[in-house]
């Protein structure tokens, strides 16, 4: 097996069992270069375990994860290929950020100059000589990102990077990841909140209870449910008949004179209502809330019904 330098991450039939708990089950997805892939799922759905299996920190019970076509353990210089910001990744509180990075630089075999470079890149240029124990959570996240970037990797893996970052930091990270992916590199970013990756991710992998429940683009997810127009009139039955006569058949009767009309638009409905002589009191474009779709995808079985 040879490192193919593609920047692609492939996960195939990946499973992990911790004692009696099935953390991940038969997960298959891929992360393509040049894009940001959002890895979504509620807390405890197996995201962290999956990322740690990709990074060779946890051994899968079954299946495999590959980066550039090879398992992590077989990458010649792993930190030059993949950088990671993980949740339970710590620092010695008494060690300065620079000392921490210098130790990593020695292990990765990059020149010491790279340390100043990454400290500047994550906005910690002035805090390098402080012990990490004095750092805020946000600064630690930035330092973790600096470590991940030290080897100038092709692939970035981030586990819930939004935790601890202030809104300014989140906006900065978003722009950073977009630019990183635009260079033809790969980004895999996990979150339990759709809103956090909605503006960054091109592709989504949604998991629930260790299984994949959706994989595809954000646009596809939005398109998977047809938008409706809600219209209120004084005679919904007559309006529905008039609409049906024009070929609009997906109509739901709602309460208080409202109709939910799919496969049409407000202009057409308004014209039909006028022609039929039905007064219209209001029309609303029903928005497909991604968050709602996400909830439906990842909901507990009993809530789906």
């Amino acid at each position: 097996m040879q490192d193919d330098r593609s920047g692609r991450v492939t996960v195939r039939e990946l499973s992990k069992r911790f004692g009696g708990v099935q953390a991940v089950e038969g997960l298959t997805f891929s992360v393509e270069p040049g894009a940001v892939t959002g890895f979504l799922g509620p807390n405890g759905s197996g995201k962290t375990t999956t990322l740690r299996m990709i990074l060779g920190l946890v051994t899968p019970t079954a299946g495999e994860a590959r980066i550039n076509g090879v398992p992590f353990a077989e990458l010649g210089r792993p930190a030059r290929v993949v950088g990671a910001v993980l949740e339970a990744q710590g620092f010695h509180p008494a060690r300065t950020a620079r000392a921490h990075l210098l130790a990593c630089a020695a292990a990765i075999e990059v020149p010491d100059d790279a340390v100043e470079h990454v400290l500047g890149a994550v906005g910690l240029g002035d805090a390098g000589f402080q012990p990490v124990g004095d750092y805020s959570l946000g600064m630690r996240q930035r330092l973790a990102l600096a470590v991940a970037l030290l080897g100038d990797p092709q692939v970035l893996v981030l586990d819930e990077p939004g935790n601890g970052l202030d809104p300014e930091g989140i906006a900065w990270l978003r722009a950073f990841l977009r630019a990183f992916a635009a260079q033809g590199r790969s980004v895999l970013i996990s979150s339990h909140l759709l809103a956090e990756v909605e503006q960054t991710a091109d592709h989504l992998v949604v998991i629930s209870h260790g299984r994949c429940v959706y994989q595809g683009s954000l646009a596809q997810l939005q398109g998977s449910r047809t938008a409706r127009v809600l219209v209120r009139s004084n005679d919904p039955v007559k309006l529905a008949d008039a609409l049906a006569a024009t070929g609009v058949l997906e109509i739901d009767t709602l309460s208080e004179g409202w109709l939910g009309v799919a496969g049409s638009d407000p202009v057409h409905i308004g014209d039909v209502a006028l022609a039929a002589g039905v007064p219209v009191y209001g029309m609303v474009h029903e928005r497909v809330e991604l968050e709602q779709l996400y909830f439906q995808l990842t909901a507990e079985p009993w809530r789906v019904g």
């Binding site: 740690r52 990458l75 792993p78 990744q89 060690r95």
Partner: protein, 275 residues
């Protein structure tokens, strides 16, 4: 695939060691203990001028045997501390495989252990001379030999500590287990072995890691002070063993223990899930 070169992880481990206060935090008791022990060695040498006994050699050996435990403590903290502070994730993500990480930790901790032994010797000799042992200063040959053996024993304990810290991975458990074993466990085991009928079984106590290290450092000073016939009996008394082997064998035994714990660390470390 070519084997991973050991130099990058060794440099990384070295930088980790020198960027926290642990190494000199442990160096302070090493120097204090050695100074105190050898102060007495010097005082006693001066007290018996007519005997012409280089007692300082004995106190130096005792100091080397005592301070080597700090080398082990350093090794344990260097390895298990990575789990405590959760830096092991970063360490594994930046290294080619877990084997080289363990090897580098053992090598660097062995180096720190060797430095502790040198510090023990330097501070010990200064304290001994200050206490007026100059009248009967140990001869160069036995002194150099004792120092070199002490350095080797301390280096072994450093490496063994790093391997043990990788096996146990919980810092407090590893430290408590090691100290309990050295202070109580080995004494109990030795007493148990001493109950045995067979002389072979009784002699086994010299082959326990703590005793092996002590037998190695006491060998030459005991012979210098008590002569070739009574020397081994002095070693028996000091190390609490029966029929001790000579220092080369004892050092080899400690090195084998170090290797065995290293293999165990390699085996367990490679399979551990870092969650």
């Amino acid at each position: 695939m070519r084997p991973a070169p050991i130099w990058p992880p060794v440099r990384a481990e070295w930088r980790k060691v020198v960027s926290t206060r642990l190494w000199w935090g442990l160096l302070v008791p090493v120097v204090l203990l050695s100074s105190m022990i050898n102060l007495f060695g010097g005082v006693f040498t001066a007290a018996f001028p007519e005997e012409q006994l280089p007692l300082l050699l004995g106190s130096l050996a005792y100091a080397l045997g005592t301070t080597s435990v700090f080398a082990a403590v350093h090794g344990i903290v260097a390895a298990a501390g990575e789990y405590r502070h959760r830096t092991i994730t970063t360490t594994y993500l930046t290294s080619r495989g877990r084997g080289p990480v363990l090897a580098a930790k053992m090598l660097v901790s062995a180096g720190v252990g060797a430095c502790y032994a040198v510090a023990t010797v330097v501070s010990g000799l200064l304290a001994g001379v200050a206490a007026d042992a100059g009248t009967t200063f140990p001869a160069a040959g036995p002194l150099v030999a004792t120092v070199l053996i002490g350095v080797a024993v301390s280096a072994c304990w450093g490496a063994l500590g790093a391997a043990f810290g990788t096996v146990v991975s919980n810092l407090v458990s590893a430290l408590v287990a090691l100290l309990l074993y050295l202070m109580v466990g080995e004494l109990l085991l030795g007493a148990l072995l001493d109950e045995a009928e067979s002389g072979t079984v009784r002699a086994l106590s010299s082959y326990l890691p703590g005793n092996a290290g002590e037998v190695a450092v006491y060998g030459i000073p005991a012979r210098e002070l008590a002569g070739p016939i009574t020397g081994p009996q002095v070693v028996e008394l000091l190390a609490g063993v029966t029929a001790p082997p000579d220092w080369t064998m004892a050092l080899l035994v400690l090195a084998l223990w170090t290797g065995a714990v290293g293999v165990l660390g390699w085996f367990i470390g490679a399979r551990r899930d870092i969650t």
